[in-house]
């Protein structure tokens, strides 16, 4: 009773308000049709995908039951008999990520400049530098690892080269975008006081892009640690080899232990690199 009464006092002419603002309340038919058609399209594609990819409730159900069994077998996680080997593989993983990121960071510098619109006057060179880095990025790290294994053989070195290659694509894109975003005035100033083109880059451009780039590189180091944990699956070193083997032989307690090791390592690296980022960049963080 009381709520009814208070409602009436709050909105004495509810129907009147509804009538006057009918357009606002129901929304424009145009947006409605657009929304409904977008949702319908997305749902239709999803249904088609479910059908084509052979999803079935029976399969999902039995899979989830299986997963439950695996989970129960995962506790308690144990390192088995190979703790030393696992630790070594983990160190290898971090080393792969570190070296791969570092090499890529250096090697993409020239490509980044070539692909930047405000440094590279030649449009054709700029276009091809862009497409080149796009193609590199289009190929996954695992594929690069397979290719490098053909060159330097199985082992972590192939992993380093794989991480390096796929990162060159990302870094040169990041670099060129950062270079394009800079303020041109400092470079102009350097040139106007008699500096050469190289001077303009060193004193007008580098100080502007450096903090952004360093924080990006650190961010990639973190994400590469994650990638480095899996390239062992194709034989390119690191902990992935052990992980894949343990999964294939159903040693679930050891799988759980390895996953925990990965989680701890990634968390530790996240922590260190965010501290470093703060130290280098100060408060000016922010990913592009």
């Amino acid at each position: 009773m009381t709520t009814q009464a208070s409602k009436r006092t709050l909105f004495p002419d509810q129907t009147d308000v509804k009538q006057r603002h009918a357009a606002l309340i129901t929304g424009s038919p145009q947006t409605k049709i657009l929304t409904i058609s977008v949702i319908a399209l997305m749902a239709a594609v999803a249904l088609f995908a479910l059908f084509r990819l052979e999803f079935s409730l029976a399969r999902l159900g039995s899979g989830i039951v299986q997963l439950g069994t695996f989970l129960s077998l995962m506790v308690p996680p144990t390192p088995g008999t190979q703790l030393i080997g696992l630790l070594k593989a983990l160190a290898e993983t971090v080393a792969i990520a570190f070296l791969g990121t570092l090499l890529a960071a250096f090697l993409s510098i020239p490509l980044g400049f070539l692909a930047a619109r405000n440094v590279m006057a030649n449009r054709i060179v700029q276009f091809f530098a862009r497409r080149f880095s796009d193609s590199i990025r289009g190929v996954d790290t695992l594929i690069w690892a397979l290719i490098w294994i053909n060159v330097v053989g199985l082992g972590p070195f192939a992993g380093v080269l794989a991480i390096m290659t796929s990162d060159i694509g990302s870094f040169s894109k990041l670099y060129s975008e950062a270079i394009e975003a800079v303020d041109g005035k400092p470079s102009e100033g350097v040139t106007s006081t008699g500096g050469s083109k190289l001077h303009a880059i060193r004193f007008g451009l580098v100080p502007q892009v450096m903090p952004v780039l360093l924080s990006q590189i650190l961010y990639y180091f973190e994400s590469n640690t994650r990638s480095a944990t899996i390239i062992g699956i194709v034989g390119a070193g690191g902990i992935g080899l052990y992980l894949a083997e343990m999964i294939r032989t159903f040693e679930w307690d050891q799988v759980a232990f390895i996953i925990l090791m990965i989680l701890v390592t990634v968390a530790a690296i996240d922590f260190v690199s965010s501290r470093l980022r703060l130290a280098i960049v100060g408060e000016r963080t922010g990913r592009l």
């Binding site: 695996f70 070195f157 380093v160």
Partner: protein, 295 residues
């Protein structure tokens, strides 16, 4: 004109420049220490990762060789001389590429839906209590730290070979990645509409529907599209562990040295990824301008 620049007395200049030099020396010292630490880490990492420069230099010609070789057919002729022979499996590969795209699509969609329902629990301003937020955050962190290929490996054992484990693996990883980004978007909203909705008697989900969603939807869609783009790349290697898509044929071609097949499949993947990149970028651009036009 000649005395436009006033020169300070020598004593003052001397003390100022000494101060400047001291500052610069300190800065240089930090740089040098930083470089030394980096160098030490590099040497250590090089040792652990078994970097062998000699082996690399002795074998690096194989990389360029390999890249060159994948552009030759089995009969020793250049691939461009016989496009039909080069892309002999076009029909099969197109179907597998379609599968790959569908895996990425379904994984992204399901992951985004799950992330949508979880992100409010993980955001500082909308979580009902700190314990809930803590667990939501740790869960999302777990989902995104474990690489999707690892989930795929486990799911292949549980659900059997095929695209189903691939979709589920991508879904879980997407849930983790998008959940974090969505929560960050939600933390940046204007809280006044939410307060207004709650003050007029809205329940939690009503407030989210009418006060939060209109503010965040275009950002969510933009992040979702970005994730889709990343997931297409991820889905292209799901086949490596038997989780469907074009990766199966690719790893077979690489392992069995079907050189021209490798280049054909790689080119198809790169072209697909580039097209998806362009399309999603266009849509995201439109979303952002639409958003700006409204506010």
């Amino acid at each position: 004109m000649a005395n436009a620049i006033t020169r300070l007395p020598d004593a003052q200049i001397f003390s100022l420049s000494a101060g400047y030099r001291a500052e610069m020396a300190a800065k240089r010292r930090t740089t040098i220490i930083g470089i030394a630490i980096m160098a030490a880490c590099t040497v250590l990492a090089g040792w652990v990762a078994e970097v062998d420069i000699q082996k690399f230099l002795a074998n690096v010609y194989r990389f360029t060789d390999y890249i060159g070789r994948i552009f030759y057919l089995d009969n020793g002729r250049h691939v461009f001389t016989d496009i039909g022979e080069w892309f002999w499996g076009l029909g099969k590969w197109t179907r597998q590429l379609l599968d790959t795209l569908l895996i990425a699509y379904l994984g992204t969609l399901l992951g985004a839906i799950a992330a949508f329902f979880l992100c409010f629990a993980a955001s500082v301003n909308l979580a009902t209590n700190p314990t809930q937020r803590f667990f939501a955050r740790r869960f999302l962190e777990f989902c995104r730290t474990v690489p999707e290929i690892v989930f795929a490996l486990i799911f292949v054992v549980a659900f059997g070979l095929g695209p189903v484990p691939g979709v589920l693996a991508i879904m879980i990883h997407t849930l983790g990645a998008l959940g974090k980004l969505f929560a960050e978007v939600v933390e940046n909203i204007d809280m006044k509409p939410v307060e207004g909705a709650i003050a007029s008697g809205a329940s939690r989900w009503q407030a989210i529907r009418y006060a939060v969603v209109p503010q965040v939807l275009s950002n969510f869609a933009s992040y979702g599209l970005l994730r889709f783009e990343i997931n297409v790349r991820g889905a292209s290697v799901m086949g490596f562990v038997g989780a469907g898509g074009i990766g199966q044929d690719l790893i077979e071609a690489i392992r069995k040295f079907y050189y021209s097949d490798v280049s054909a499949i790689l080119l198809l993947i790169i072209a697909t990824v580039m097209i998806i990149d362009m399309v999603t970028e266009r849509i995201r651009h439109n979303l952002l301008t639409m958003d700006r036009g409204r506010t």
